[in-house]
């Protein structure tokens, strides 16, 4: 118990320190930029200031988001989520699955056992897909960085569209009744029902899990983050506004499918993508195009498709990919057409 109190007060102190640092980002970056041997107002200066401001900001946001999410996820487990979803009806079940997809611990290498665990426990196929679409797409790093770099409106729009897409795509796949398109060994499988012992973590355990998650994720993505901020800085300083507005602006219909294709090989590098998105939006890229790009980066991933191919027949893998890609295109087009 004493241990818990120590961890909790340490966390509070850490959060206060975080808030102090975060509130001082502008003066800090200005101070650092004042040492630059570069003429103020030049393109290079613009780019370097963007980099100096965004790097500590993205790093701080990333640390906070991954810590909080790591802690929140100790309250959920795949077993618990499965229990909540099994026997769920179409519609309500899809909505619940999409929401639980955000908070349930999930990594792509566990996609197959999770899929089988869900389906064999009677979670409908469409509901399972809602979960599998939402889990990678509505990811906390993307949301947290959008919130901090681009603004809460865009973050909320991303969350709303991401959840809707996961729900709708799941319902569509469920309606198609494709259970027969699972690989044979999956349909014939008898599992033992998964008696995984669950122990209740103490508050200290939860905080430690948050710290572990922050260290894991930040340790893995920081090169992408720096590369992304560098690319964002170059766009911010050098890319001509007219060119980008023409290429990615509202008027060019082809930009939506183009960015969806572009996003497929860029798997799970939200930390690197959002600074680029920030710079693109600043140069007049259309919001729908940018949303489609982010969704494609996070939700359409080749490694996940290859892993899922072990349980889904090729036809079902293609349907899954097609439905999600179609939904992302629709989000991009609709948004550009009606909401810009």
């Amino acid at each position: 118990m004493r241990n818990d109190r120590l961890w909790i007060s340490g966390t509070v102190a850490g959060l206060v320190l975080w808030a102090l640092l975060y509130s001082q980002l502008v003066p800090l970056s200005e101070w650092m930029a004042s040492f630059l041997p570069v003429a103020q107002g030049s393109r290079l200066h613009e780019a370097v200031v963007f980099f100096l401001y965004d790097t500590p900001k993205v790093l701080l946001l990333l640390l906070l988001v991954t810590f909080l999410m790591g802690t929140v996820r100790t309250f959920f487990s795949p077993e618990r989520t499965r229990a909540l979803l099994s026997g769920g009806r179409e519609g309500v079940g899809n909505v619940a699955a999409a929401c639980l997809g955000i908070v349930t611990p999930f990594c792509t290498c566990s996609a197959v056992p999770l899929f089988i665990g869900f389906v064999s426990a009677g979670v409908p196929l469409g509901v399972t897909f809602s979960f599998l679409i939402s889990a990678p797409m509505v990811n906390e790093v993307a949301l947290g960085l959008l919130f901090g770099l681009v603004g809460w409106r865009v973050a909320l729009i991303y969350l709303g569209f991401g959840l809707s897409l996961a729900v709708l795509a799941g319902i569509v796949i469920g309606r198609l009744h494709l259970e027969g398109w699972l690989e044979d060994w999956v349909r014939n499988l008898r599992t033992t029902g998964g008696e995984v012992p669950t122990l209740k973590p103490s508050p200290a355990d939860r905080i430690r899990a948050g710290l572990d998650s922050a260290r894991d994720i930040v340790g893995k993505v920081w090169p992408w983050m720096i590369a992304g901020i560098g690319a964002g800085a170059l766009i911010h300083g050098y890319a001509p506004r007219e060119l980008l507005a023409n290429l990615m602006g509202n008027g060019s219909w082809f930009s939506v499918p183009a960015v969806v294709l572009l996003g497929i090989p860029m798997y799970s590098n939200a930390a690197g993508i959002i600074p680029v998105v920030e710079a693109l939006l600043g140069k007049g890229a259309a919001l729908g195009t940018v949303l489609a790009f982010m969704m494609s980066v996070t939700a359409l991933s080749l490694p996940e498709a290859i892993i899922l191919r072990k349980v889904l027949t090729l036809r079902l893998t293609l349907v899954f990919f097609g439905v999600v890609a179609g939904g992302i295109l629709a989000v991009g087009f609709l948004f550009n057409a009606f909401l810009n």
């Binding site: 611990p105 290498c109 056992p113 999770l114 665990g117 499988l189 599992t191």
Partner: protein
């Protein structure tokens, strides 16, 4: 005693294998250790997230890597 590490070979699975080996050495246990990488075999244990630790056919934990104290408790 038979210890099985379930996982397809991602970095986390290797980390669990290492943590287990360390605990086994420190406890001086006499056991055989096996890595289970075949997906059909993994799911037959009923786990939903990898890596998982199985001792004598029983799933002890899944989806995370226990700390060294907890690990020793699980292996006893």
């Amino acid at each position: 005693m038979k210890i099985q590490i379930l996982g397809t070979g991602c970095p986390k699975c290797n980390a669990l294998a290492q943590a287990t080996e360390t605990a086994v050495r420190e406890l001086g246990l006499d056991c055989q250790m096996e890595k289970v990488t075949d997906m059909q075999e993994i799911v037959s244990f009923g786990v939903m997230s990898t890596p998982a630790l199985v001792v004598d056919g029983k799933v002890k934990c899944s989806g995370r890597i226990p700390g060294s104290d907890e690990m020793k408790e699980l292996l006893k």
